[in-house]
Symmetry: C2
Subunit: 703 residues, 2 copies
């Protein structure tokens, strides 16, 4: 059979196909014989698009390369047990090196720039530059023959920023990103991960101290830092004219956001005392939220402030304070509401049969929290923080095993990448970001003021806290708290957000330098500092573990250091706030939002039984032994451990056979909510109340 007859046989009896083939060959033939190009310069546009695309990719490639370098180096460091530099410090250093290379050697891509003026007869009555320009090129400008296309069209240009020095503009687009990227894409997973992996047990135990440091302490730091800077710069007249008092206060608020990353990574590697860990972590997580709301409040004061009036304005001040409180609580409520909504969705639907969908829902709901908050002028970071806590506390219990692993590993990965990306960016942008403004005097002043501001937070507040606190915060712990106030991603993201004026550009430069300095130098000196202050390392994570039969009693290490957890003081270790909340949580919130026992049918008054029955799932009633027990012990595993133990092994600790020592407080029904939960699968609440004699029991043996 020849090829032709093959085709003939194929087309046999199909005249319509033959017609089509003929039409096709006609089109192909005449199409190619035509003038192939139409009038529009599509291919030039294509090239333009391609160039933009290539530049974008080079930017991304740069940071991906930096991240790979950081990952490989940090692996080598971990492999050789070197601890003098944390991965974020490495990321910054690599960033600085690459930034310098780009700045001084990189090819300069010259954009096609033309200066423009408003068209004749245009009136513009705003005090900020226009958002959009419409450009019409006339013949007199573009005289080239092929450019006739340009003359008939209007092109749109959008606002990008302001330039001081036109010669600097050439590096404008090099290795920089829109600051919105940090706020909308990189910060939310970092904050969410912090909340999702919070050691809630110790967080609740130290609730009072954490809240004091975070709320009062951050405000104090912001005001002290801001005021000191303002005071100092009065010595330098050239500086004083650039910065108003509100400017320095704003800077104080920006720079008071501390970053837990580096120090906590080292803490958890060294197994530092858990209460110290909880204090540092809790404070840093919350103070990001406070700092961001504080900057908002200061901005709002500045907006309401009447410049003609002069001096301090009481009304505007109280409005700003009111706004601060309103924004914070609204964000908190929004975040918790959406967290609770996710818990309800995962509890009352069978979406857990499809873990991928469940995980997506979880991720999307959490991100929505951030977006709703930001879109309604609340603070997304606060919302996502409390949403993360609710997700960890309630939703996590309802998730399928698969989704637990997925969500944890997903956020861990995102957190790691986002964090190291930001630190790389801080390094690179020191050289490439066009809006830097170096001022040695201001930078020196800031370093001093920041340290003093931190001291004004930690030492007086610890002093006051120690009056009402049973396990006192020792002097050495206070020093560690002081040093742990490193600045990081949040301060940088706040500073880079608005770099329009010279004051703000100076703030950005100073913030970058403070972040770099603290990450590299403070981060590197944590281990010697801990030794120097005699902070116990290698402490068991859970003091309760210490009395497990067979394991050596390690509680002793703890007392030497700082906080003395005597058996009799366990009740007072928990703040009254934590105790009230714990009782409410165990009795109403957990039964409503998770599959845990006791059910609402047991905890609600009998009159509410029909409602309670409706809100109790059959899983909840038939719940077996610890199959879906509380998540806290899993979430409590510190970062270094979770790196190794998440995945299949992550569930080992909730296996029914797992035994935990348990302290029951004398006639205290509402015991620590975290413990209680772990306790449930093994001992029923009835048994618990009979047994509460203040002695410790092995649950396995006591039943």
């Amino acid at each position: 059979m020849t090829k032709f007859s093959l085709f003939k046989c194929y087309f046999k009896g199909k005249p319509s196909i033959l017609v089509l083939v003929l039409f096709l060959s006609y089109s192909l033939h005449f199409g190619f014989c035509q003038d192939l190009m139409s009038g529009t310069p599509d291919s030039e546009y294509d090239e333009k698009a391609l160039n933009t695309h290539r530049l974008d990719n080079l930017n991304l490639l740069l940071y991906t390369f930096l991240l790979i370098l950081t990952v490989v180096t940090i692996w080598m460091f971990k492999h050789r047990r070197l601890r003098f530099l944390h991965e974020t410090g490495l990321a910054v250093i690599y960033g600085l090196v690459v930034g310098a290379i780009i700045r001084y050697t990189g090819p300069i891509t010259e954009p096609r720039v033309i200066p423009v003026v408003p068209a004749l007869g245009t009136h513009y009555n705003h005090s900020v530059p226009p958002d959009v320009l419409w450009l019409q090129l006339s013949k007199r400008v573009s005289s080239k023959a092929s450019a006739t296309y340009l003359n008939n069209h209007t092109f749109v240009y959008t606002f990008r920023g302001e330039i001081d020095n036109t010669s600097l503009n050439e590096i404008d687009q090099k290795a920089t990103f829109d600051p919105e990227v940090f706020f909308n894409l990189l910060l939310p997973p970092i904050i969410f991960h912090a909340a999702y992996s919070l050691k809630r047990k110790y967080f609740f135990k130290n609730l009072g101290a954490i809240f004091t440091f975070a709320f009062i302490g951050t405000t104090v730091t912001a005001f002290v830092t801001g005021s000191l800077i303002w005071g100092f710069i009065q010595i330098f007249p050239y500086l004083a004219k650039d910065f108003s008092f509100l400017d320095t206060l704003y800077f104080g608020a920006v720079i008071s956001a501390t970053d837990p990353v580096t120090i906590l990574a080292i803490f958890s590697e060294l197994h530092v005392d858990v209460n110290l860990y909880a204090l540092v972590f809790g404070e840093s997580v919350l103070n990001d939220a406070i700092a961001i709301v504080l900057t908002r409040a200061i901005q709002s004061y500045a907006e309401k402030y009447n410049p003609n009036h002069g001096g301090f304005e009481m009304v505007a001040f109280f409005q700003a304070v009111g706004e601060f409180l309103l924004i914070f609580t609204s964000s908190l409520i929004l975040g918790s509401t959406l967290g609770i909504a996710t818990a309800l969705l995962t509890k009352f639907t069978r979406i857990r049969d499809f873990p991928l969908l469940e995980t997506c829902l979880f991720v999307l709901m959490s991100y929505t929290t951030f977006l709703i908050a930001e879109a309604t002028d609340l603070t997304g970071i606060v919302a996502v923080l409390f949403c993360g806590m609710c997700q960890a506390h309630y939703t996590y219990n309802n998730l399928s095993d698969d989704s637990r692993v997925r969500t944890k590993s997903f956020f861990e990965l995102l957190n790691f990448l986002a964090e190291n990306f930001i630190f790389s960016y801080i390094g690179v942008s020191m050289f490439t970001f066009p809006k830097h403004h170096f001022d040695v005097a201001f930078i020196c002043i800031s370093f001093i003021a920041v340290a003093l501001g931190r001291a004004a937070n930690i030492y007086p507040l610890s002093f006051l806290l120690n009056f009402g606190r049973k396990p006192k915060i020792s002097r050495n712990f206070q020093h560690v708290l002081f040093f742990s106030g490193m600045r990081g991603a949040m301060a940088f993201a706040l500073a880079i957000r608005n770099t329009m004026s010279k004051a703000r550009q100076t703030f950005l430069t100073t913030t970058s330098l403070i972040v770099i300095g603290s990450v590299i130098f403070v981060g590197g000196s944590v281990t010697p500092l801990l030794t120097c202050f005699g902070i116990p390392v290698g402490v068991e994570e859970d003091p309760d573990h210490a009395v497990l039969p067979g394991t050596p009693h390690r509680g002793g290490d703890l007392t030497e250091g700082a906080i003395e957890p005597s058996r009799s003081s366990i009740q007072s270790e928990k703040s009254w706030l934590a105790r009230i909340w714990g009782g409410f949580d165990t009795k109403y919130m957990k039964p409503l939002l998770t599959h845990s026992k006791p059910t609402l049918m047991e905890t609600l008054p009998p009159c509410c039984l029909p409602v309670a029955r409706m809100l109790t799932t059959s899983e909840q009633l038939n719940q077996g032994c610890g199959a879906h027990g509380d998540s806290d012990i899993e979430l409590c595993i510190d970062d270094a451990d979770s790196v190794r133990s998440s995945g299949p092994r992550a569930f080992a600790s909730t296996q029914p056979g797992f035994q935990r020592v348990y302290f029951v407080n004398d006639r205290k029904m509402a015991v620590d909510d975290e413990d209680r939960h772990l306790f449930y699968p093994i001992v029923s609440p009835e048994t618990l109340s009979c047994d509460s004699l203040g002695n410790k029991h092995l649950p396995g043996s006591s039943v």
Copy 2:
């Protein structure tokens, strides 16, 4: 103790602190008494930044909300076993609804626009509009008293696009994203996931057919579609003047990228015949790559084309063809190289001790592939596709258990989110994207031409393939292949990339409509179509399973349908290409790049022993029974299963106790590489060669 004495006691003996406190109170007092505002309108800038931020967040919120809606609805559909609409279809429909609401009811945010003209004395000699404008506002324009700030500054504006109709501009920024987002952020994970979860076993079995459909077929489709459209539009003179032949060819290439998502999700839910699945999947995955390179080649032809010459230019044509081949193979080599680099990194370092770092390295290396390719003017999609295949084939074997779970679940999640995001966006952008250009005639012509173009790919090529192919592609299979050519994310991303000219805007509109039509209507009719064409569903994934003792013989179902897998034809089932590659892979690539046996010490000639020893790890020598066996069976699990079975259970299938039936071809040493690997842990290669009598054995019983 009064409060005052408390403070006194605190400051006792610390005069330096007292001085500081005094300084601080001075600063606070005088700071607040000063004029708080400096000259720069920072608070107005802040507000401007805040507004941009709010708008960005509303946009993101919209899509997140749509995704949540889609997730919840699709869960309900799955729960009730409704199959008439796939999740992507749902995403599109929700997108359309919301897009319409935004378009017709949403508030219109009026940007501050002013028309501008070039400053006096400016010369501009390019044929494309300038990239950047520098605006200087003079007094005559902004007369407001507070706006003096504007007069002393230069503002930068960047190019955004072209407008035809100025009244349309008001929805310019509503719910739209930079097209770069699709290419740089959303497509790479989708393509990577496709490659990473490819059923490589069946892919290699059908390598010849897949390559034919992908390479030749896509080119045929592109040219036929393009030519037919050009032919048809000659009937409409008003259309003919807007579109050159190269334009329609470009469109043909854009629209020839098919999307496997919807159809494959349904296939795997219904357990459609694996060979059909492999054909559809393999073809769609590869043809995205071909289509994107083809559009590049057509653009390059257009650039080289001399408009003064007219007609077909042979030199430019062959240059374009050469470029096509060069770009494709370079991208392929780049992707494979980076995949292999990752494999080597994970094999020869102990980074697997830190799974988080390992996962990061894996993700970053894979993304780097895309970025390097794009930055060097190659095609990232092709590179990431082959990188994904290498990662699945080699690197996966070296990963720790934890990283396996992490990487799989991470990409699965990203893929799901990215895909549904794109489909939502297609829906919303139908109404909100300002660059749409509806032309009913062109749209109708395109629908017809696209269908004919697809037919011109499948039917003739299947006809030709069936000459050399033993398990023939039956007529019904051909029909399914024809219908499975739905258009999706890739076509849309290509079309939205450049919407400068009217022709391109028409292409975008038409592409969007074709995508929407095919996802909703074809996607909805797959199940009835399969029944109608008598395609067997509920087929065992692995035909070999069918002869496992104890399970019913299901091979019969398969023969009725289409491909007859008779025992004697197994050898010819594999293409010669697959056989050569399989041999090379098993002997050299896998021993070099993974921890699998045989080691290079066994496969390389004795003279290379020192090198071979260097390249063999101790893990490889001490490898036990299947602990880190091949990944393919895990990767082979189809989507529907993996939703349920990934996580801790995902490793069940590689347990040593797991038995698989195995066919050994008559005196064929290089058996199918996928099978062989599964075989390894149980039978050593020596045993295999002794036993190869062409009979089937249960490995467990044969040793």
